[in-house]
């Protein structure tokens, strides 16, 4: 007999993340390195455990190996529990059927048994590709107090950006009366953060109905939420204030890393009351050599820095040789930046080498239509000595 869990979290980590190009060619987006020593998924996993929710199903599908290995038994997040803990849930073969997760709602539908095992009253649906810190316990309290069928976390976005999000139109008391996906003329600025709490009994009913509809794309935003609204279920919005960023594009991934360097951005990783946990790399402290010049940057364990690093995020185990110059860039784990190489507004994937005198990216002064022209060097790729990678390019070395 398993202990009853009031709330079980289900983390959708199956997204392919095609807009991240070479970075997600061999790993799922939630496993992409972030912020010096983390992976993107660490934020959601840490939020979950910090909110007191200790049972979490991680739904994987695309390139699951890296993610499976990373999560392991969940120990780095204190999720190795006798009862509950972290579970990686890939699609599996059942007696009558067996298929890939067709959509976000179908992924949960296929794991109804998992949630039922814990006799959960509430289910928290999360996505593994956002950077934010949030106490889901507060959202759950609000959901219970209002006796809602569904509570959706919303973020107040600037009106000009509202048409890029799923927008919730709400009454003054927070009740959602309409949901519009990427509206041309938004009526509200409350954007869905892709964080839902459902009363499980209700959600289960709608999932089963939705599954019967062959026309449905089995998606929360497109099907389940509109269906619940049409059926007159009580749907509440939950206002979130604080830092939140979708890191689905190269430009936004770069921006979110840069936000760590800006003490005003609101993503304070140093908060000891809300730690972000990560699997540890067992690297020694980093070493700063005689020729290093470092300004406004973060540097992780195991690095050897002997060049210039300005406004940059340097991940674990990176070598920066004497005479290399790195500005406004992020360099992912175990990469080497050799003598005289120059990086500007770029992302260097893990295990890559930027050869002597190579130049990656260009100094940019501003974003164009909200997008920065960030140059990217793919993971485990070599930029040959003297080679040039243009601003905005995705360099894969012919791979």
């Amino acid at each position: 007999m398993l202990t009853k869990k009031e709330c079980v979290a289900m983390l959708l980590a199956g997204g392919q993340g095609t807009r991240l190009g070479a970075l997600t060619e061999n790993v799922a987006k939630p496993a992409v390195p972030f912020g010096g020593k983390y992976r993107i998924i660490d934020f959601t996993l840490s939020n979950t455990i910090n909110s007191g929710i200790d049972t979490i199903g991680v739904l994987t599908q695309y390139q699951p190996f890296e993610l499976n290995q990373y999560i392991g038994n969940g120990q780095p997040w204190d999720l190795d529990r006798l009862d509950g803990g972290a579970f990686v849930l890939p699609p599996y073969q059942k007696a009558k059927s067996g298929e890939w997760y067709k959509g976000t709602a179908n992924a949960i539908y296929q794991n109804i048994d998992f949630i039922d095992r814990y006799k959960a009253e509430y289910v928290l649906i999360l996505s593994g590709d956002h950077i934010y810190k949030m106490n889901y316990a507060k959202m759950l309290s609000a959901h219970k107090a209002k006796k809602a069928s569904c509570t959706i976390a919303v973020l107040d976005v600037p009106l000009e950006n509202a048409s890029r999000f799923g927008i919730m139109n709400t009454k003054p008391n927070g009740t959602i009366y309409e949901f519009e996906e990427k509206p041309k003329n938004p009526k509200s600025t409350k954007a869905s953060m892709g964080i839902y709490i459902f009363t499980w009994e209700k959600l289960k009913k709608f999932l089963i109905e939705d599954e019967k509809n062959k026309e449905s794309s089995n998606d929360f935003g497109k099907n389940i939420i509109p269906n619940m609204l049409n059926a007159g279920e009580l749907m509440m919005s939950f206002d979130f204030r604080g830092y939140w960023k979708d890191v689905g594009t190269i430009s936004s991934l770069w921006e979110a890393n840069m936000d760590i360097l800006d003490s005003q951005s609101g993503i304070n990783l140093a908060d000891r009351d809300w730690k972000i946990y990560a699997r540890n790399a067992a690297e020694p402290p980093h070493f700063i050599g005689d020729f290093a010049q470092i300004k406004n940057s973060i540097i992780s364990e195991g690095c050897n820095i002997n060049g210039t690093v300005v406004n940059s995020v340097i991940f674990t185990g990176v070598d920066v040789e004497r005479g290399a110059f790195i500005k406004d860039s992020i360099v992912m784990p175990n990469s080497k930046i050799l003598r005289g190489a120059e990086l500007n507004h770029s992302i260097v994937g893990w295990g890559a080498t930027v050869g002597e005198g190579a130049r990656v990216g260009e100094a940019l002064s501003q974003a164009v239509n909200g997008e920065w022209d960030i140059a990217t060097v793919g993971p485990e790729v070599e930029v040959k000595p003297g080679e040039k990678v243009k601003a905005g390019a995705m360099f894969t070395g012919g791979k």
Partner: protein, 371 residues
Amino acid sequence: MKEKMMAVLFASGNESKLNELTIHRTTASLPFGGRYRLIDFTLSNLVNSGVTRIGIITRSNYSSLMDHIRMGRDWDLNRKNGGIAVFPPFVLNTSREVYKGKIDALYTVLEYINRSPADYVIVSNCNIAANIDFTDVLEKHQKTGADVTVLCHTGSVTSSRRLVITKDKAGKIGDLCFMENSNPEQKLIGLNIYLIGKELLVSYVQEAFARGLVDFEKDILFKEVAGGKIFAYEVKGSAAIVDDVKTYYNESMKLLTSEARAELFEKESKIYTKVKDSIPTTYGSNCVVKNSLIADGCQINGTVENSILFRNVKIKEGAVVKDSIIMEDGTISENATLAYAITDKSVTLSAGRQMAGFSTYPIVVVKNKVI
């Protein structure tokens, strides 16, 4: 696969010579190398060599050690079979006083040793920072047919008593003696790490204990040398023995050379330590950092040269730190200067204060002090 080796470690030793650094802790839990405790090197070497049954004998002040090791998970030592066993003093009902030497200490854990399925025992102090492959030690031990293999390295006797070894080409030890006077001459120096067959160790300890002997080296090894079955195993590369403030400072500073770091950290076998989930280190706009080893979680806005900073150290604007070791949670405030100092955990040097030791006599600041 059958376990071949087990280990018994001594957490204490030389505390008196480490002065203020070991008021609150054992030598084993002395912070070293920016993010480690001394025992991390021994534990990691053992685990990397497949030794997962490790008993740690403590003497006093062992709460910091227990807090560091917990269940041993950070070294992958939370096992159903074997894993870590910490022995506080007075493990035997019959022991009326804390053990005096290694022999009576080992005597108190004979049952633990006997119960182990391993055929060989590694007996080691915890004050060594080195990267040692014990599978190779065992191979040599079996090949030479040694009774005891004494691990050693080439170095000189500095400020503390050292075991000096004379051996022949085959590695057979002809003479063992303690030397105390500082001498720059390069010699083979014992690392206080031994590999011994289990049954032999048990009989050595039982016999010596019955005669009231206490000193493992003098009362057992020195006597056995004549039998010709004591062999030396030389650990190549850097091996730091930390047994007083001077060696602590000098061996720490050696880590600022790339050779020492490569030998200790850049091998296949990693050094593990307690995971603390610190954030990466932040460098401000006005910092100047040269030739320094810096752990996670620091915030650096001042000048740092030839120094080692442990986790979560704050160097404020205008502060200047040179040739110093600053342990976890230290704060060097605005415009303060520090040179040739070892500050223990959570020390604060207030704004504008100045403190300096000398290269041959670094000053030690006790844990939690505000200057």
